[in-house]
């Protein structure tokens, strides 16, 4: 991607591939594709939560899709 310059991306290629595999492919609103040319899905971190901010060009749906490993209820009190 970056011509003539190592971005460091080769150090975590496996991790990068895993993140790309996790991203949403279809709009929760209309079921249309949100990859490639049909929308946009940007992954960001909020503490330990991985959030995909997603916008669908077909229906205009926009929102955050959060990848979770475990359903968590109330935090135990100290």
């Amino acid at each position: 991607m970056t011509e003539g310059r190592l971005s460091g991306s080769h150090w975590w290629d496996q991790d990068r591939a895993a993140h790309l595999a996790d991203r949403p492919r279809f709009c929760p609103g209309c079921g249309g594709s949100v990859t490639g040319s049909e929308g946009i899905s940007v992954e960001y971190w909020e503490a330990d939560r991985r959030v995909y901010h997603t916008w669908c060009s077909s229906c205009g749906w926009a929102g955050n899709i959060v990848r979770i490993q475990r359903m968590v209820g109330h935090e135990p009190e100290d």
Binding site: M1, E43, Y44, H53
Partner: protein
């Protein structure tokens, strides 16, 4: 993090690319009027294409593809005539609409001429710069933003930078960088090199906000010691879609313009209109002051002991096109995410055959006022002087004139700079 495909769609600006087609719906500065008065033809590159820009004897401007449609010689080495630009090679002549109006060596010239047309854009002067539009007809209005039409003393620093325009635009919706790049890092440099970095940039961000608006994204911040009543939050300043940012304070109104020359080159300009409160007359100008600011030294190291040099380091060191498949962005980057989504949504409109809805107008207006804080970071004359001495203006041939303008205005307001060096200086008049 983005996929490579999405990153490519956001950063490729050539003809036929989705972003290139969106960006071709907007006007860009491509030269200073001074340059066309000194020599009436100039080569310009915009969105990956090369053009010949010329000033007509009537005072208008034309822009056509650089390669002559005859046999591709450069029209930049042409002859400016009353009704068009004549190729220096065989004398073919083109008017401002790209029509071929003469082919001196041809017989039956009317038929052949009618079949030949050069690609032509549109060019207009505004604020001492020549602006070009190379998209489909009808062209939108060239927005006459306040900073380009208001009275004042105009100073423009500019340089050609080896990176994508998008990473510069993303910096415009990233308020947190100010307290680190221009605050902590500047303070560190000052401690090493023996100067005092401006304190106003070191304040911690307590809150940032972004509102989509007609012209782009309005950016707000609350700094430590300030409240939501202060200008930085109550007014804010906008990213002006798709290539600029409006900023200001202490009598300086600035448009930072990032012209996408091609995928990996950006003409980065700081267009500043100085009109501090307390003055109503300024030194006369025929043209804005224009000059190149330095950002790299003779050993290839970034020059980082001034504000914009620090920004340039951050923009350029990300690479020619930042690899967004390897980034790790967080909640503090939501402005960046909002901008990417806005670009993607506006690209979709153009792909569907519609006009963009952001930063785009077909309504002629003499002056468009943009929201912009006046009391930036709560500072007055000290902030203005720091802007001049610690910013790209330090390369301006008019630096001393600008200091005097701000000092005289401060005295008229009854304000005194805290530095003794400035307290003894004489005003310009």
């Amino acid at each position: 993090m983005l996929s490579k495909e999405q990153n490519d769609r956001l950063t490729r600006v050539g003809p036929g690319t989705p972003m290139g087609e969106l960006l071709r719906r907007y006007w860009y500065p491509v030269a200073f009027t001074r340059q066309l008065d000194e020599w009436p033809i100039r080569r310009v590159r915009l969105l990956g294409e090369d053009f010949a820009l010329w000033k007509t004897p009537q005072g208008g401007y034309g822009i056509v593809q650089e390669a002559c449609p005859h046999r591709a010689a450069s029209l930049v080495y042409g002859v400016v005539e009353e009704d068009g630009l004549r190729c220096g090679y065989h004398g073919w002549k083109f008017d401002c609409s790209g029509n071929c109006i003469e082919q001196p060596a041809e017989l039956g010239k009317t038929v052949f001429m009618r079949n030949v047309k050069a690609f032509a854009g549109k060019a207009e002067a505004l604020g001492g710069m020549v602006w070009a539009y190379i998209g489909p007809d009808p062209a939108p209005e060239l927005p006459r933003f306040d900073v380009f039409v208001d009275p004042g003393f105009v100073d423009v620093g500019h340089s050609m930078l080896p990176c994508s325009w998008l990473q510069i635009m993303e910096n415009s919706v990233d308020p947190h960088h100010v307290e680190w790049l221009h605050g902590r890092y500047f303070e560190f440099l000052g401690a090493q090199q023996g100067f005092v970095a401006p304190k106003s940039f070191q304040k911690k961000h307590l809150r940032v906000g972004f509102d989509p608006m007609e012209w782009g994204i309005l950016k707000r911040r609350v700094l430590e010691g300030h409240t939501e009543e202060d200008d930085d939050w109550a007014v804010g300043h906008p990213l002006v879609f798709p290539h600029s940012m409006r900023v200001g304070g202490a009598g300086i109104d600035q448009m930072q313009i990032r012209v996408p020359i091609d995928d990996t080159t950006t003409w980065a300009m700081f267009y500043s209109n100085h009109h501090p409160e307390g003055l109503d007359a300024y030194p006369e100008q025929i043209y804005p002051v224009d000059y190149e600011y330095q950002w790299i030294d003779h050993q290839g190291r970034h020059i980082v002991d001034y504000i914009e040099g620090q920004d340039v380091m951050a923009w350029v060191s990300q690479g020619k096109i930042a690899d967004r498949t390897a980034e790790h962005i967080g909640k503090s980057d939501i402005g960046v995410i909002m901008l990417r989504r806005m670009f993607r949504a506006q690209m979709a409109r153009v792909e569907a055959g519609e006009d963009p809805t952001v930063g785009f107008t077909r309504i002629p207006r003499q002056r468009i006022e943009l929201p912009c804080e006046k009391k930036k970071f709560g500072a007055g004359i000290d902030f203005a002087l720091a802007w001049l001495d610690m910013g790209s203006t330090r390369y301006s041939p008019a630096l001393d004139t600008l200091r005097k303008i701000h000092l005289e205005a401060a005295r008229a307001r009854g304000e005194v700079p805290s530095s003794d060096e400035y307290a003894v200086r004489q005003p310009f008049s």
